[in-house]
């Protein structure tokens, strides 16, 4: 594995999460919303750009498992748990499976989705898509169109439309009723040429409003939620370079961090609005002593400008970190990170994970 010099622009975490609960319910702001270290942790704990790029390349061409767990607060986690499979049953018939249980960016997404792919032309497939949930009313059905580079399927574009929880009103033993269908539009695409690659994914949903007519007075009467997210990764990576910018086996990693977040809620009848705008940066030294091991140490500092219902607050956060990465085989990567809060002197948390593409 040669040294990899790269420049990276990653625009992730463009998340819109809107939650509105009925009058009796509460949607108190979580402590995580105000945590000045959150953006740092999400940056440190996420897969490194080179790992992320390998996974993006494999999305429609291989099987993959990746797991990444890191402390966010004393009780919560940054968690990515994902598995995918691409199976070819017949030249014209394939299957794509995705299992995920992620907890990032204020939302937890646990989902199993499947596509039955029917090839209609070289590189063009139509899919019957769905989420075969063990609870019938939670199953989604829909369709998709997939276009791939015919040779290796590492360049692709997929567009999927799902009727989420399609049988909710028909097969719901709890008596809950949803006012209108919930549609999810999902798109994912990757393009690569030479050292350049670009990957983007969007998952957009309409609002779900559910009424529980048979609920007892002290129980939940109604709920509403909506989740939409989009992320993108643009990458330039030159492989095989014999020398890094500093020394033959030493390189620098520089990261610019920007985090914008807005939340509106209703807590016990009182409305609140919150916004934060975090800016910071990370500088790390990456040492690759051999083929299998990579060590990284660095420092990240960020300023979080927060506003809660008109009250402004500026907070600083920082961390020093060290990461060990082990790649015992091609496309097998394990990592462990340990961090320390320099300003407060507190323990900064740790994360561990693996990524296997096969």
């Amino acid at each position: 594995m040669g040294f990899c010099e790269e420049r990276l622009v990653r625009a992730a975490a463009a998340v819109l999460l809107a939650t509105a609960l009925a009058r009796a319910a509460r949607a108190a702001p979580s402590g995580e919303l105000f945590d000045p270290l959150k953006a740092i942790e999400y940056d440190l704990y996420d897969f490194a750009p080179e790992e992320q790029a390998l996974w993006e390349e494999s999305r429609w061409s291989g099987n993959a498992v990746r797991l990444d767990l890191g402390s966010v607060t004393l009780k919560e986690l940054f968690a990515v748990q994902e598995a995918q499979a691409n199976l070819r049953a017949l030249p014209w018939l394939g299957f794509h499976l995705d299992v995920q249980d992620d907890r990032t960016r204020e939302a937890e997404v646990a989902r199993f989705s499947a596509d039955v792919l029917l090839r209609i032309a070289p590189g063009v497939e139509l899919a019957v898509s769905g989420t075969p949930d063990v609870v019938k009313q939670d199953s989604a059905v829909g369709g998709a169109l997939l276009i791939t580079s015919a040779a290796d399927r590492t360049r692709y574009a997929v567009l999927r439309l799902l009727d989420d929880a399609a049988f909710f009103n028909l097969q719901n033993p709890s008596g809950a009723h949803r006012d209108s269908p919930v549609w999810r539009a999902q798109a994912e695409g990757r393009w690569a040429s030479g050292p350049f690659s670009a990957w983007a994914r969007a998952d957009l949903g309409t609002s779900s409003q559910v009424r529980y007519a048979a609920a007892p007075p002290q129980g939940l009467q109604a709920s509403s939620d909506q989740r939409s997210e989009a992320e993108a990764h643009f990458r330039w990576a030159e492989r095989g370079s014999a020398a890094g910018p500093v020394l033959p086996r030493l390189a620098l990693r520089a990261v610019a961090l920007g985090w914008k977040e807005r939340a509106r809620g209703l807590d016990a009848g009182a409305r609140y609005g919150f916004s934060r705008w975090d800016l910071g940066g990370r500088l790390g030294a990456v040492w690759t002593p051999g083929e299998e091991w990579t060590f990284e140490a660095g420092y990240v500092r960020i300023h979080s400008a927060q506003d809660l219902s008109g009250a402004s607050l500026g907070r600083w956060g920082d961390k020093a970190y060290g990461t060990a990465r082990w790649a015992p085989r091609e496309r097998v990567r394990l990592h462990f990170l340990l961090s320390h809060q320099v300003t407060t002197g507190g323990f900064g948390g740790f994360s561990g994970g693996l990524e296997v593409i096969f």
Partner: protein
Amino acid sequence: MRAVLLCAVAGCAAGAASAGALDDPMFYLHEDTYQLTPGRLAQWEAGQLAQRGNVWIDLGSIEGGEYDAVERGVLNLDLASRLSLHAELRNDRDPDGRVTRAVADLLVNVAPGLWLGASGVPAARKQDYGVGGSVLVASASRRRYLLARVVADQFLYNRTNLDGGTRASPVLHAQAQGRWEEGAWSVAGSVDATTESETSFPGASLVTFEAGSRRELSLHGRYAAPALELDARLDVLRTHQARTQLGASSALRQTVTTLRLDGLLPPLAGTRWRPRLGLRALTGEALGDEQGVRSSLTRREPGARIAAQREDGKALWELGYALAVPVLRRTGIGPAADSAPYQDKLYGSCDLSLGPVSLRALLSWEVRNARFGGANANVLMQF
């Protein structure tokens, strides 16, 4: 996963109030017809350690608009020369509730055929973490194996849970699975048992106490020659659920034992149809306690199946008739009641073998009840 856990809790709560599947005259007949054929089940068992990926998805309609569902996946990945990852994912559901569990073993090869490992339950919430250890003994092909694991489930629960719960003692989860084969013979089995989970919620206004445990045993002996297949299966499930809600306590303890004997005979003279004959015996008991009022439900259910299979290229067709006589006896709440309703099903299925994927669709008709008997689809993927 939070939604999953909420559903699991809801399932547990529902289970504490009723005997669920044991009270449903049709459930075990549905389950019997929906199950993988013995041949496919043996394929799944053989691939548990031998295949890099082994996936089984099985959804079948049951009464009340729900599924009898099995969703399981297994991964075996060689990370380094002496380091392997074995991971299992389970998401099953029946009228008694839902079993959702992921567990992974990081195995180090310490001697030929012997691996020792650290086990863990990865989760999206800290309170759901589990840690433990495992040992694996396997043949070179990994089609013969013994894997045993003990995990302390939710070992950080008291320090990290967001439910306001306090657990009296750690919950230990022991699992073992093994398989042996020699020529036409094979035996596979598994044990999955937890100690009692007792959780108090002192600050809660609705549910202030919950307890539960689940113990399962499965054995499958098989003889498979080209012209004759014989299978014997034994499944035992024992569950306990208890809860205190608004000061009122309820508990339910259930045990269900099922024995199945199956035979796939040589083709009938002059045809390509192979008779399939099956016998099934089920015994179940549910002991309930609602605020000190005890109740019981016992179930004795003999059943049988007569069917025929025909292989046609990649397709395997099966037409059959399955019957059962669930003898139910209830005592305790209300007057004692006995019933023994004859139940039956006519079904047809098509199983397609498409390389690493096999698909089966099944449709059924309840002859005695003169109504649609439900549908089932299952997929087995091995890669």
